[in-house]
């Protein structure tokens, strides 16, 4: 591990010196430092900034502090009651010990589990821009089928982010040039030619909170995660969904996919295809197909297309 210095952030607008990075729960960053994949000069600890409340917003909805631990957020009665998809997604991730450490912002900003990215001795355009992507012809069984580029086929590993993407959550950001908000669906980038950048955050910008807008029908929402063993594994595919059905017709729907792209994948085309349609398996499958038409699977991950298609139908049937 490279030598680094450590300091605590003085305030949310403290910013970052060159070569510095924010430290939350450290459950991903510290691992990557041990592996030599992350090599910050300075760690700026933001866990003492008081960003660890879940508060109710005036017009409804919740403001989740960036430092709220995953365990606390999953157990929050308001989250469990109003946004079960979020609580379920959180509890599907990692282990009890990790969830006790991991923060809301840190979970959003965790990096891909692509095996080439995680190995500093391997070429990888994400950890060594321009070195190439061995995953395209190598091991990519659990990598992207949507929105990938020849430079990078990494997936975002978070479960929580998939639920937040489905719920139209908004990220509040504080930085050297002021404050701004970005929808969770636009926080993460697609890799394009610059896969080294995971998100739209600029150096020194700090996520201070995530706002969950009110969504009444989110009380009927769920998260379904598919993985290679019963626990303690990243998703092979996942679906977050909320569904509102009246008289057998889909009035509204929120749908997002995990483990398929460089970002939590909001399935807007599927949602559009479903609104006003009968709440039947046929509609659900047609909606999934509308979204997955853009899928470009590789040699060893074509199964993900069928997996997500099945999951969409099964999850929505369960909610309707």
């Amino acid at each position: 591990m490279k030598t680094f210095t450590y300091r605590t952030a003085a305030g949310v607008a403290d910013g970052l010196e060159p070569g510095a990075t924010f430290l939350g729960g450290g459950t991903n960053l510290v691992d990557l430092m041990k592996l030599g994949v992350a090599t910050p000069d300075v760690l700026v600890d933001v866990t003492r900034l008081g960003l660890d409340d879940v508060a109710e917003l005036p017009g409804g909805g919740l403001r989740i502090g960036a430092g709220v631990r995953n365990s606390d957020l999953a157990a929050d009665p308001r989250v469990r009651g109003q946004y079960p998809v979020l609580s379920q997604a959180l509890l599907a991730g990692a282990s009890g010990q990790l969830r006790n450490m991991a923060t809301t912002a840190g979970n959003l900003l965790q990096r891909t589990r692509c095996r080439y990215f995680m190995d500093a001795t391997m070429p990888c355009n994400k950890h060594d821009p321009g070195s190439g992507c061995p995953a395209v012809s190598g091991d990519h069984r659990n990598l992207a089928i949507l929105g990938a580029s020849p430079s990078c086929i990494a997936t975002h590993p978070s479960d929580m982010a998939v639920a937040l993407a489905a719920l139209d959550a908004v990220v509040r950001i504080s930085g050297p040039t002021g404050e701004r908000t970005v929808p969770v669906t636009e926080l993460h980038r697609l890799p394009g030619d610059t896969p080294e950048r995971d998100t739209v955050l600029e150096h020194g910008e700090l996520i201070t909170a995530v706002d969950l807008p009110p969504l009444e029908f989110a009380t009927r929402s769920t998260y379904r995660k598919v993985r290679d063993r019963a626990s303690y594994a990243f998703a092979v595919g996942s679906v977050a969904a909320a569904l509102q059905v009246t008289d057998g017709t889909v009035r509204d729907v929120r749908l997002a996919f995990g483990a398929v792209a460089h970002k939590p994948w909001r399935a807007s085309q599927a949602e559009e295809a479903l609104r006003g349609r009968p709440a039947t398996r046929e509609s659900f499958l047609a909606a999934a197909d509308a979204e997955l038409g853009a899928a470009r699977p590789l040699r060893d991950n074509t199964f993900k297309v069928a997996l997500i298609r099945n999951l969409v139908a099964s999850v929505l049937e369960g909610l309707s």
Binding site: T3, R115, Y116, R227, R229, A230
Partner: protein, 696 residues
């Protein structure tokens, strides 16, 4: 001498060192305090699979104050010739696999060693590499022997004619991936030189073997090497012989004149310490209409390294499992630019019985015969290939009793019949076998003051309960309570023990311990002046005289699985093992051994796979986040039971080895259950959802 009538053997005594382990008081190889000048070593591993290391450049400014030495083939001390070329570390410019140790940094701190290793410039001329095992590889060859000394090929009768004539045949190919042992405690050594003597605190399965092997490399006789192995956090075969960490640590200590600690990082366990070879196995079975086998043919393709030939005995279990007049087994190897495969729990039997026992299930389906009945009809009366009678064989009883206990009898034999919600549910069975072995060992017992005894043998306890079981054996042989016996193991200077491998530890060491304790008793009971306070017993002579063939443990595994029709996910609802393994010495630790093997078998069926990237020439998953073994949540109902098997042809305890049989057959039972649940035959392990989903 007090006497006691209650026998300790057979009692579920708790592990003697359990409290120490729970409290963190038990010390492992990398935890010994050995002085203020302890140095730390870090290995720089090859980034290429084949090539030549022409030089190593050290930036003189990097860690100048803290780095004590940077060793590579250009400056490392010369070692004597190694029997195991993997131990000829830093001796040659030749690079034989990705991950091979190319340089060693020794520094005052662990962090400095690691940082400096990352800055080394390795001047490498890379060669093309070949890492892919395939059945049409032009360099396939038949070895003379497979491990440890079996003929690579056997043949009897006229197999081809039998297949021509048979009304029912099965011809299937099963493949298993490379697997890594992944013990909880990574390989580690703390080495120091005391004058010309070498002291190694080392995590291994065979302290005297490590002393002899490492000693020979430094031109030292075994008695000049002191290996201390008090506790071991698992080995699963990968610590059976000295590994490069022991040699590198000893070398670094010699060069720097300090004690040196080398604890391999988890990632290095996926290249430097061995793996189970991948296998491609073709099994052909021919049967009459009544299910009697007329021919068995099991042909295996597997790999070894460029460094030396390690030939796993994958088809050997097939030689004694079922009767058939015409039979053939064979192994072919190809030497690839890969690390050398080594022993991993039930080497040979574990992958071999996947192919045989799944093929038997396929044959049962082809015959419309219950898979248990098929096995019963092919029960041999003597070892089919050697003709030697079995010392005891209760395979049929395991199948029948297991079937009763598991609830097999109301099973609908047709696949894809039982559905609960989204789950397809099915059950499967498979047989298990593992050879019963004993190896020469020596033990010593001393009578101490106040009716207590010290029993010594250089055995290693890998967490299995060996220390506890030997205490029980000694107590019974001395006819005293276990509280009066102090067991000393884990030290190469104690009387010589065989390896904790081949499920032979308890038999081998227990034999020597029994002999020593009985000798002491008989000398004390005689009133002559020859009465002594110490006795030593060497089992070599008795073991050499013993018939080796015909001695096996047997068992039967039963699995119930459910397969998600939406996702292809497999969950094992029930796993049940029934074993016939001689006298069970300690039901508590035995159960743990059986269950541990069965869980590892579940991992082999469903999870474990070292994923090869042929272009990079290596496995790309190399930690326990990416190399999946079962998590607690994967274990639902799991049980092991055993028959009370008497066998007086084995050893004084009447015991058979139980460390490995749990992993033999359990993967096949799960795969057969997946077929029964879904109608999908997975012949390429592990049975992951992406292989199942397209077919359900």
């Amino acid at each position: 001498m007090t006497t006691t009538t209650e026998r300790a053997v057979g009692q579920p005594i708790e592990r003697i060192e359990g409290p120490d382990k729970v409290r963190g008081a038990a010390r492992y190889a990398a935890e010994y305090q050995v002085g203020d000048d302890l140095a730390y070593a870090w290995v720089a591993q090859s980034p290429v699979a084949s090539g030549t290391l022409n030089g190593v450049t050290v930036d003189p400014l990097v860690e100048a104050d803290d780095v004590l030495a940077v060793l590579w083939h250009g400056n490392a001390p010369r070692l004597a010739e190694a029997d195991d070329p993997e131990l000829a570390v830093l001796q040659s410019e030749r690079i034989s696999y990705r991950g091979q140790a190319l340089a060693l940094v020794v520094a005052r701190t662990f962090e400095a060693a690691r940082r400096a290793a990352a800055t080394l410039q390795l001047d490498i001329a890379e060669d093309p590499h070949d890492t892919v095992l395939r059945t049409d590889h032009p360099e396939l060859y038949a070895p003379e022997k497979v491990n440890p000394a079996f003929p690579a090929a056997t043949s009897s009768g006229d197999v081809d004619a039998a297949f021509e004539a048979a009304p029912v045949t099965v011809d299937v190919t099963y493949s298993t991936p490379a697997l890594h042992n992944s013990p909880m405690e990574p390989h580690a050594t703390t080495a120091l030189w005391a004058g010309d003597d070498l002291v190694l605190y080392d995590s291994n399965q065979h302290p005297p073997g490590i002393a002899a092997t490492v000693g020979a490399l430094f031109d030292l006789p075994p008695e000049r090497v002191h290996v201390i192995t008090e506790h071991v956090g698992g080995g699963f075969g990968s610590k059976g012989t000295a590994r490069p960490n022991a040699v590198l640590a000893a070398m670094a200590a010699k060069v720097t004149g300090r004690p040196v600690r080398l604890a391999l990082p988890r990632q290095a366990l996926f290249s430097m310490v061995g793996h189970r070879t991948p296998t491609i196995q073709r099994v052909r079975l021919a049967a009459a209409e009544d299910g009697r086998l007329t021919a068995i043919d099991h042909e295996v393709v597997e790999h070894s390294s460029r460094l030396f030939e390690f030939a796993e005995q994958t088809a050997v279990a097939t030689r004694h499992m079922y009767a058939a007049p015409n039979r053939r087994t064979g192994h072919q190897l190809v030497r690839l630019d890969m690390p050398t495969p080594r022993w991993m729990r039930a080497p040979g039997e574990a992958p071999g019985m996947v192919a045989l026992e799944c093929a038997m299930d396929e044959l049962a389906v082809a015959l419309s015969l219950d898979p248990i009945e098929l096995r019963v009809r092919n029960e041999p009366s003597v070892e089919p290939e050697s003709g030697v009678p079995f010392s005891s064989r209760h395979y049929v009883e395991c199948l029948r009793r297991g079937a009763d206990r598991f609830g097999w009898h109301d099973r609908d034999p047709r696949p894809r019949q039982r559905r609960e919600g989204d789950w397809w549910i099915g059950t499967g069975v498979a047989g298990a076998t593992y050879p019963t072995m004993a190896q020469p060992s020596t033990a010593r017992v001393r009578r101490l003051a106040a009716d207590s005894y010290e029993v010594s043998i250089a055995a290693a306890d890998l967490g299995t309960g060996a220390r506890t079981i030997l205490t029980q054996i000694a107590a019974d042989a001395l006819e005293v309570p276990v509280s009066q016996v102090r067991m000393r193991i884990g030290d190469s200077t104690l009387p010589k023990a065989s390896v904790a491998g081949g499920s032979s530890g308890s038999a081998s060491w227990g034999w020597a311990v029994t002999g020593a304790c009985r000798a002491l008793r008989s000398s004390s009971s005689s009133s002559s002046s020859s009465s002594s306070d110490e006795a030593t017993f060497d089992s070599s002579e008795l073991i050499e005289k013993q018939e080796k063939d015909g001695k096996h443990a047997f068992g039967a595994h039963f699995a119930e699985v459910r397969v998600d029709a939406v996702t292809g996910e497999v969950r094992v609802s029930r796993l049940f093992g029934m074993f016939a393994a001689g006298k069970i010495l300690n039901p508590r630790t035995a159960r743990s051994q059986f269950l541990g093997g069965m869980i590892m078998g579940m991992g082999m069926a469903l999870h474990e796979e070292s994923v090869l990237d042929p272009a990079m020439g290596t496995w790309v998953n190399h930690d326990l986040a990416e190399y999946h073994i079962p998590a607690h949540a994967d274990i639902e109902s799991i049980e092991a039971e055993w028959l009370d098997e008497q066998d007086d042809q084995l050893n004084p305890m009447g015991s058979k080895g139980i460390g490995e049989i749990g992993i033999v057959g359990s993967p096949a039972a799960i795969l057969n259950a997946i077929w029964h649940a879904t109608g999908v035959r997975i012949r390429d392990l592990p049975a992951r959802l992406d292989k199942i989903l397209p077919h359900i």
